[in-house]
């Protein structure tokens, strides 16, 4: 099979399933497990991280010609922390309840392996539009993984998804609370990863 | 209403912090640089890079650093062998003599055919875990567990598990690094010098019936080997004969005299004694042979029964007229000959 230059579209789509950062590559796990206690919180977290990911990818790509290889990591960190600070204050102002739930994980976006990883592996060596697509693809993949995890945890532990009740009363009177707590998060992501391996999603 | 004050303060603090960190790191990288001895780099380049730890240092990097610092013997890399030792010697400008090469050897003969099982083990297929369970599934608690941990850890893939449930060591691939010896939970692997021909293959500290009940090939501590050894190289300790490698001449008498066959002869072949016409019929050799392999009447030419002769050379030692020659497989006749 001859190797071809990956198409523009593949930059976008590879980050969604084939190279999903959370389920296939297993990076960026801290916010994944901590903020998925409900589907809404998961969506909020992934939106914040996606914002930072897409914009930092674009900016890193814009300045890549002016950045020396030896100091690129600190430069990436400065760029990323700029956007993290922006989203931090935006959330504080417009979504205070979400901000309280996410807590310390909003500033921790700056050390999220996914964002630094994409900047280093892709944005530093590709054009602006391609970096935008790559950032978008990974952001969608991250969102997908988080929302699935959040929905599952909320469904099993509370009986609702995005606040909509989906289970009968008898379940909600004695739900699987285990899923809301940390052990449930570890367990669920182990099962999801095993499922991904079984379905050969990474190949 | 742009608050210029705060923007300027922010720029100043962030810019200042960045500049300060940059200066500190620059100064540090200059003043705290570690000078690497180029001999260390050269020595490291000639090392095999297997990082097996046999030299006793943390990996090839560790050994190279120690050699360059003069804190390590030049011949410690057994894996690289005399070749590497010589090259290290060239780099360091010193004469290097290689150490005697060792090879790994299994000192247990209790495979599936010889040793019984106490129970059926259904746990993780690892010797260390099986050994934790009442000493392992083998009836002899001292013996090799046979689940292949040594084969897994050998960095040179020199060990495979044989049909009898015992590890088989490929002596051509084995470099004597000693990793398997360290990893075996039962301590049934030993490093022996390659030139050593006779080794005891049992680690059971039980005696007599206790051993016979659990293993056909185990040492029953009958003390026979100690009596027949011509070099007094064996001594009993905790129901096992301990061999003094300095005294042992690898004659092979213990191998044949042991009732359970617990000694192993590593020699691919042994010579045979032949009596030449110098023989004056003094019968000294007839009395000396422990296997009654020499026939002969007094004052007549003696003859060696080749099928009984084990090639130990005791007869040759005692013959007063140098009438006995050892022929065939001379390269494996032990230190006596």
């Amino acid at each position: 099979m001859t190797s071809q230059k990956p198409s523009r579209l593949s930059y976008l789509t590879s980050g969604i399933i084939k190279e999903n950062p959370v389920l296939i590559l297993m990076i960026g796990l801290c916010p994944t497990l901590a903020t998925t206690t409900s589907a809404r919180d998961a969506l909020g977290m992934s939106a914040a991280a996606s914002f930072v990911l897409i914009f930092s990818n674009v900016v890193v790509s814009l300045v890549r010609k002016f950045v020396q290889p030896s100091i690129r990591i600190p430069i990436f960190i400065i760029i990323i922390s700029t956007f993290v600070t922006i989203i931090d204050y935006v959330l504080q102002a417009y979504q205070p309840s979400l901000y309280r739930v996410l807590g310390v994980f909003v500033p921790l976006i700056v050390v999220n392996c996914i964002i630094l990883g994409r900047a280093e592996a892709f944005a530093y060596s590709h054009g602006v539009f391609d970096s935008f697509l790559d950032g978008l693809g990974n952001a969608l993949g991250f969102t997908l993984a988080l929302v699935i995890l959040g929905s599952l945890r909320e469904f099993f532990a509370v009986g609702t998804v995005f606040g909509k009740t989906l289970t009968p009363n008898w379940y909600r009177s004695a739900p699987m609370l285990f899923m809301i707590f940390p052990p449930g998060a570890f367990f669920l992501i182990g099962i999801l990863k095993a499922l991904a391996v079984k379905l050969k999603l990474g190949k | 209403m742009i608050d210029w004050g705060i923007i300027i303060k922010a720029l100043a603090v962030l810019g200042g912090a960045g500049l300060l960190i940059a200066i500190v790191l620059l100064v540090a990288s200059l003043k705290l640089s570690v000078h690497v001895d180029e001999r260390e780099t050269a020595v490291r380049a000639v090392l095999p890079g297997a990082n097996c730890g046999a030299c006793g240092f943390p990996g090839c990097d560790g050994y190279a650093a120690a050699v360059a610092a003069g804190k390590a013997p030049l011949s410690a890399c057994v894996v690289g062998g005399p070749n590497v030792t010589r090259r290290i010697g060239e780099i360091m400008g010193q004469d290097a003599s290689a150490a005697e090469p060792n090879v790994a050897f299994l000192i247990c003969r209790g495979g599936r055919n010889e040793a019984a099982s106490r129970f059926q083990y259904k746990g993780a297929a690892d010797c260390r875990q099986a050994a934790l369970l009442l000493g392992g599934p083998k009836a002899c608690i001292y013996g090799c567990v046979g689940l292949g941990h040594c084969a897994k850890v050998c960095p040179f893939s020199a060990i495979t598990m044989g049909d009898n449930g015992l590890p088989v060591i490929d002596e051509r691939k084995c470099t004597g690094c000693g990793k398997c010896v360290k990893e075996c939970p039962k301590q049934t692997l030993l490093l022996v010098p390659r030139s050593k021909l006779v080794v005891l293959a049992c680690v059971s500290h039980d005696k007599g019936k206790a051993v016979k009940d659990v293993c056909k090939a185990g040492c029953i501590a009958c003390n026979l080997c100690i009596k027949v050894c011509p070099a007094q190289a064996l001594a009993m300790d905790k129901n096992l004969p301990v061999m003094d490698f300095e005294r042992c001449v690898d004659c092979g008498i213990c191998v044949h005299k042991c009732p359970t066959g617990s000694f192993i002869d590593r020699a691919p072949g042994r010579p045979k004694a032949v009596i030449n016409p110098n023989c004056d019929g003094c019968q000294t050799c007839v009395k000396a042979c422990q296997f009654k392999a020499i026939e002969g009447e007094p004052s007549k030419q003696h003859k060696v029964a080749a099928d009984k002769c084990i090639g130990c050379g005791e007869c040759r030692k005692v013959c007063p007229v140098a009438a006995i020659d050892m022929v065939g497989a001379l390269g494996h006749s032990g230190k006596a000959l």
Binding site: C30, D88, V104, V197 | K9
Partner: protein, 194 residues
């Protein structure tokens, strides 16, 4: 909050790895062997203490008085990165023993969420310097406890017959879930809530 409660809270009740999910990337990567886990824990405790002090001082002496709270993220992460780099060079030259024990883990720690999280939480909880020190010590200790326990289990898991789709990360996560369940038992110990 008194000091012992801060420590127990950080060490057991709100264990940074198993209850707060902070520091997971290095957790799963390094815990495949007991030796590397011990080295990593040493590095984490060391850097956590240093970073906690430096950032606390920077916050109270510089950022707060000047009204530059919004620079917190950028300044803290830059300082940590520079600090780790400096410490690595210093150890390599002057404390060879410590460097050979944990030096190689230092670059991994720069982007470890745990370090940054401590510095932020020290500020958010409004700790004074002593409280911040105890908290950092508790978190470092909690990290070490969790990673060493987990490494011991993972080493045993390696030899066990695990079904193909679960080999590697999935079964490790399930294992972590069980340890986390055990730590959940510490909830409300001495009245410290999770």
């Amino acid at each position: 909050m008194n000091l012992s409660k801060i420590f127990i809270g950080a060490f057991l009740v709100n264990n940074i790895l198993l209850m707060r999910f902070i520091g997971l990337c290095s957790f799963f990567g390094v815990s495949t062997s007991l030796d590397t886990s011990v080295g990593m824990s040493a590095a984490v405790v060391f850097v956590t203490m240093l970073a906690a002090w430096v950032c606390w001082v920077l916050w109270h002496a510089l950022l707060l008085p000047l009204g530059l709270e919004f620079l917190r993220t950028a300044v803290f992460i830059l300082v940590i990165a520079g600090l780790v780099q400096f410490v690595e060079m210093f150890l390599k030259k002057y404390v060879r023993g410590l460097y050979s024990a944990m030096g190689i883990y230092l670059p991994l720690i720069t982007t470890n969420c745990a370090i940054l999280a401590i510095t932020f939480l020290n500020v958010d909880y409004g700790f004074n310097l002593l409280q911040a020190t105890i908290y950092a010590l508790g978190v470092g200790g909690g990290y070490s406890l969790a990673i060493i326990l987990f490494a011991a289990i993972r080493e045993r898991l390696e030899d066990s017959p695990v079904s193909p789709s679960f080999r590697g990360y999935p079964i490790a996560f399930v294992g972590a879930s069980l340890i986390s369940l055990a730590f959940l038992g510490f909830a409300n110990l001495f009245g410290i809530s999770i």
